[in-house]
Symmetry: C2
């Protein structure tokens, strides 16, 4: 048996080689490069503190509790099941107060908590908002039927034949007829329950009663969100979960697409941003519907009027902030014009033209073009490439600046048309890439993004719930960070997923890694502003504002006053 000699020079050489390799590898990361962002001594201390708490919580909050425990807890586990534990986390509390920079990837019609959306529909939406269902509801079909909403003019009773003011079988509802929303909600009686019998579907809260507004709300909300049993059990594939996901947007449309609700909703978006420490937002707005219903009930509120309303609500909101002396908290909001990707070439021409017209009238607000919808099922970028290239020529001819900011690679495909969208997006000159999930398969393309300063809008919680990955530890984000690609964290569709704001996404990323720390999050927050489409002077101001708040934030952590 070997004795123990003193460390040999071969061993010392080994340690030295090892250290150099680690340093060289990590030197590509943006959070390790002083020329990208200077990390103060206080921030380094705060980073240590956060790592320590993270390590403790990994055992205390996420450790499996007791031998043979049935718990399958771990940091970064499936968000829908993890959420209630995350809310108990000290790390999460810290992240909530973090100035998180800009939100660069979020779909307007899926940002606000659906309970608020329903409330708007019942208040400013009344009495115009109506509801209908495919069948009269009873307690056994409740979980299979989803509502549809639409606003009508008051003197235009859409369903004069309706002799009931409820959507339930017990009240004699005639299927597919429109009932005023608030009335349907007040009169929501299913009957047929024994006293105390609860609705069986686990997506609804347990109700001792068989009726009432609480059950109505639960039923509506279940149609607007994804439940853990759907993502993790019954619909546990990309295609299946997208059926539910698409359905949520369908249900939202009638509620969201009514001007008074839309205005309240917009304001709520801005308030939600400020509350979560988001200082600027670029919203994906889906212009596929050519109109929404205007206040009073006529369905002819045009895209131009959507944008005028957007401008008004934003201006009011900023004015209110200024009054409170908090003008520096919010650098504003802008719009990325999007339409669906499963449309014809002719229809795409209409939307490209519409986008250009809106850009001319709203040059400050409209800052990009994109396509949305399930990437695997819709057309790939190549399908529209000819028009997109012509569009770019036209934009340039008109002396405008309107970049593409494409979704690309939100897929598990390898070498199929969706995976190849990443290549097309880059060749089409996209400023940023939405999701870019599959780019992690392509180190060559990640290197291009690093060199061309193309930021990836990573949506961790979305990717997990939509079944591209099963948990954060499996998410390919580390490959992007280790390639030096600029990354911003985004929530995508928090109303449907429950990850309101971007604190949850920041949290999931932080706890699933031991390289990533507070500095990593800070770098991504800074990059989200740096790689935004803010005009240069506003961008500088937003960056300086963020740096001020960040310095105060890390100081509070070190002082323990956080």
């Amino acid at each position: 048996m070997l004795s123990s000699p003193p460390p040999s020079s071969a061993y010392e050489a080994y340690l030295s080689k090892r250290e150099n390799l680690i340093r060289e590898e990590r030197s590509l990361r943006r959070d390790q490069r002083p020329q990208i962002r200077h990390v103060s001594a206080i921030e380094a201390k705060a980073d240590e503190i956060v790592r320590r708490i993270r390590g403790e919580e990994a055992k205390v909050l996420w450790g499996n509790h007791g031998a043979g425990s049935a718990d399958l807890l771990f940091p970064g586990m499936g968000f829908l099941t993890a959420k209630e534990t995350i809310l108990k986390s000290k790390i999460f509390r810290i992240i909530e107060t973090m100035p998180k920079g800009a939100l660069l990837h979020a779909h307007l019609d899926a940002i606000v908590d659906h309970r608020r959306l329903l409330r708007f529909a019942l208040t400013v939406g009344a009495p115009h908002m109506h509801i209908r269902v495919g069948k009269a509801l009873n307690h056994s079909n409740l979980h299979t039927l989803i509502p549809e909403f639409r606003a009508f003019a008051v003197d235009d009773d859409p369903s004069p034949e309706a002799s009931v003011l409820s959507v339930t079988e017990e009240s004699g509802y005639v299927p597919m007829t429109w009932v005023p929303l608030h009335v349907a909600r007040e009169n929501f009686r299913l009957g047929g329950f024994e006293d105390g019998e609860a609705v069986r579907d686990k997506r609804f809260k347990q109700h001792g009663r068989s009726d009432g507004e609480e059950l109505f709300d639960a039923w509506v909300l279940a149609a607007l969100q994804i439940h853990p049993s759907e993502a993790y059990e019954t619909m546990n594939t990309v295609d299946k979960i997208w059926e539910k996901f698409r359905s949520c947007f369908g249900v939202t449309r009638g509620l969201f697409g009514y001007e008074p609700v839309y205005r309240e909703y917009l304001r709520e978006v801005f308030e939600g941003c400020v509350k979560d420490g988001i200082s600027y937002v670029e919203l994906r707005v889906n212009f596929y519907s050519r109109t929404m219903v205007r206040a009073g009930g006529i369905d002819d509120f045009s895209h131009r009027e959507w944008m005028l309303a957007f401008r008004e609500v934003l201006a009011d909101f900023k004015k209110d902030l200024e009054k409170k002396g908090r003008g520096g908290d919010f650098a504003g909001a802008r719009v990325i014009y999007t339409t669906l990707r499963d449309i014809s070439v002719e229809d795409m021409d209409w939307y490209l033209d519409d986008c250009l017209q809106l850009k001319k009238e709203f040059p400050e607000e409209i800052i990009g073009f994109d396509m949305v919808g399930q990437e695997d099922q819709g057309e790939p970028l190549l399908f529209f490439a000819e028009q997109l290239v012509r569009f770019q020529e036209r934009v340039a001819q008109e002396g405008l600046y309107l970049p593409f900011i494409f979704h690309a690679g939100e897929t598990l495909g390898d070498g199929d048309s969706t995976d190849t969208n990443v290549i097309d997006a880059i060749v089409l000159g996209t400023k940023r890439i939405g999701h870019g999930f599959s780019i992690a398969k392509h180190p060559f393309l990640m290197k291009m993004c690093r060199e061309k300063d193309i930021l990836i809008e990573v949506c961790p919680v979305s990717n997990e719930i939509l079944r591209l990955t099963s948990s954060m530890p499996m998410h390919p984000l580390p490959a992007m960070l280790n390639s030096g690609v600029p990354v911003a964290l985004c929530c995508d569709d928090p109303a449907i997923f429950g990850n309101l704001g971007i604190s949850f996404d920041f949290y999931q990323v932080l706890v699933a890694s031991e390289i990533s720390g507070l500095t990593t999050l800070g770098t991504m927050a800074m990059d989200s502003i740096l790689f935004s489409e803010l005009p240069n002077n506003q961008k500088d101001r937003a960056l300086r504002e963020w740096e001020k708040r960040w310095a105060a934030f890390v100081e509070e952590i070190v002082r323990g006053t956080n």
Copy 2:
């Protein structure tokens, strides 16, 4: 609205730029480089045919059957649930006949179908093989108790006090006493069942009867394998599934570690390779136990004698192949000496020394050193680095060649000690990397592996069942292939996972990608031989033999005679 002008030169420029980018990106892949391997016109045709069948089967075999179907089928889905569908696949039939090159990553004591292992224990293992259990079995505790096996000398009745010849409560079994295996199996009566009542645990086959050899076998096999309900439900995390995984090895040990069984087992390993079109194998052999039980029952069969038996069984097998004129089918087998990684530095010294002694006596057979056990729970390479460096110096001083062939990165960790094993393995000069799962997070390190010709032994089915990934489409293999890293596909522990041979691993990889095709598999098969530790002359011969068989294989596909 825009009219439709003829394609502009901007669009043509786009298409050209796009094509160049795709070509440039793919030029890194080994399966796209003619200097790595020439692809004949016949192979290109065969590749097309296979892609077509793959596309058809994606719809017919793996498509969700009918709207609202509860099926969650897709190509590359969880193997344990997919297996029975895979067996119906024409693609799988084709892969079975494919000459797949070398198997470079498989643990000897987890290669052979456990039903065969049990059969050996009952035949050549009788009457020495004994069984014991922690409690007397009945129909309600059956699913919670696992057996332990050991061989004893016949005249050394290990449990003279045992007055029963069964391990069941009904027969009055005294817990922890040893019962001869074949006798325990014949007398396996649980009692307490109504006629027709089945054992409830879904891991056991349904039995109309409450007793008998069939139920005994089912109970033993459940302790030796991972059941889908374990991987995908009750133990669906890396740590939890490793508890079951480790337990399987513990149960195997007593059966495998008896010389007559060991000899039959070895032969079965070689036969299984040839049957699955594997022409050469480098086996991870775990030398942690310092002896096994020799024929007759004394526990002093040394490592040296393990290797002598290995040499004998292999020589006999090759001679039998030669007699059938099939000598060219099998280039032989070699051994990678492994021990556990959760041991002390002093113990590691013993094993390193033992490894060196075995190398001196069996220079042809012993071709590498490695550590095994759950990487996350054991010590990282850094912990043993000093000794490993000294070992390398000693090997060199003795004029020997004995490379490291380390497991590294079999983890979801990011920047933790297990993830960093990849760096240490490379700095320690590893010839190949076992699993290397987390290297996909490290494009910089993948580039090093490409430049240094370090092959990654990828074990797709293993990675999925052990919960590093949920399905093949999520597996990071494409990142490695797109980085030009040499890859070989391996089964790891087929006895426990059910992926006997390497056809299942080849299959899962092929169906989860649209870039990868027959040529990709062929390149990996060739690389498995190229990057093996065969001496040069034998390697050349093995490569030529493989190329001959491959040419015949692709021709059969094109002729439709496959």
